[in-house]
Amino acid sequence: MIEVAGVSKRFDSGLLAVSEVDLAVAASEIVAVIGPSGCGKSTVLRLIAGLESPTNGSVRVAGHRVEGPDRSVGVVFQEPRLMPWLTVERNVSFGLAQPDDGVTAEAIERVGLSAFARSLPKELSGGMAQRTAIARALVTKPPVLLLDEPFSALDAFTRIDLQEHLLEVWGWYRPTMFLVTHDIDEALVLADRVLVFSGQPGSIQAELILDLPRPRDRTDHAFHAFQDLAMEELGRSMQEAPPTLATFRPPVD
């Protein structure tokens, strides 16, 4: 469903954010990317979303070369990015070409916010705002859903709650999901495969295939084994390219 081949991205500032990345995500697969901050993992997501264009290599979604943002790809950002002047309902239907109350109501129900359909964003908690953002991304039922550290600004309980919600939503129509996170547990709870990125420039350093059934028990031995493995890889990725003041510069956009 998603094919990234030989992709490098150099920003105008001269910073090489990612280098020679190859990855593929099958239809309905959930792939998580973890890595130290500044390793280019969000850049890869933005390339797949069509929000950035690669300097080298090609990005394909559903067989088509990505030229720019496309309605077949839904994006959930780290911040909810709701339009503060619209109600939950209007925010969710924001991306629909034709407003459709039935479709909108279903998406809102999927994230459990029916009681708040007419609330304004300023009346929502952080978790509810992010659920609204998920509903907005889902309302068009995009075959591909990209999530850029979607729960990192939330408290631990809300995060776990939303992770469960996300799996339920995945069960709804099984979209292909590409999730960027810096939370190892989140990656292990959600993903079929975990890619460990190292920077800089960002490249894939390791791949973990999680053949564990869902829902996954965080106290399970196998889960712990994966945790250790991921920790080890993440530790190595940070050792290989320690972000120092001299080399680390945030991308300018």
Binding site: P69, R81, M83, F116, K122, F157
Partner: protein
Amino acid sequence: MTRLLAKPPRDRIDPGAVPSQRRKRVPRWAVALIVPIVIVALWEVGAVTGTISTRLIPAPSTIAATIGDLATGGDLLGHVVSTTTRVLAGFVLGALVATLLGAATGVSERFGTLFDPTLQALRNIPSIAWTPLFILWFGIFETSKVLMIALGVFFPVYLTFSGAIASVDRRLVEVGRVYGFGTTSMIRRILLPASLPTYVIGLRNGLGLGWMFVVAAEFLGASQGLGYLLVDGQQTGRPAVIIASIVMFALLGKVTDRLLSSAGARFTRWQDGFTREAIA
């Protein structure tokens, strides 16, 4: 611990978060009237007791009587109508041009680079300085007056609107990009609503300047209007007439500003502003 994991609490709006019952208080408008009433009362007492010379500063009761006389026999309504018409015509014209140009320079980088520096330079000319030229070009009748007012209204509206659009959160704009919005949708669905609150403030500033400029315009050869009444009061040595027209300006300015801000409030209710009670 295990139970918490099995059934994590759902986030929800805290039902206890309703604002606490406040004591019944004197309404806001009544509080707002305290200061003017005290001033007027002291003034009246001063005039009656002779502490204040009524030859130059007539008593409030005299001013009220003057307004009454003007209203019944002196065509006060005619003056008010012609001044208000000039302000509104100038305001609509100035605000319209400012909105179009402000939107263009705010949205399009190329257009902004092309026009904004020139407009910023023109802004530094005190608009009243254009008066002699406007009179030469457009005569001393309505056209030059309305254009003067429009010019005064233009700059605050243009500057605030253009700035507001250019500073809309780029993360919201990116949401529009994700949905493949073109320029029109981006403007209509994201840029305009996001900059509306600031735009309303710009309009209110513009309207205030409109009232300022109408006085300047009417000083220069008008046969009707509150500005004319001011000059007339000065030339005929009637301070009560001058103060009466000043009072009318204050009333009209306040009423039109109030209309504009309550019309604007409908569109800006979503703002997550603080309430002053929370900090003081």
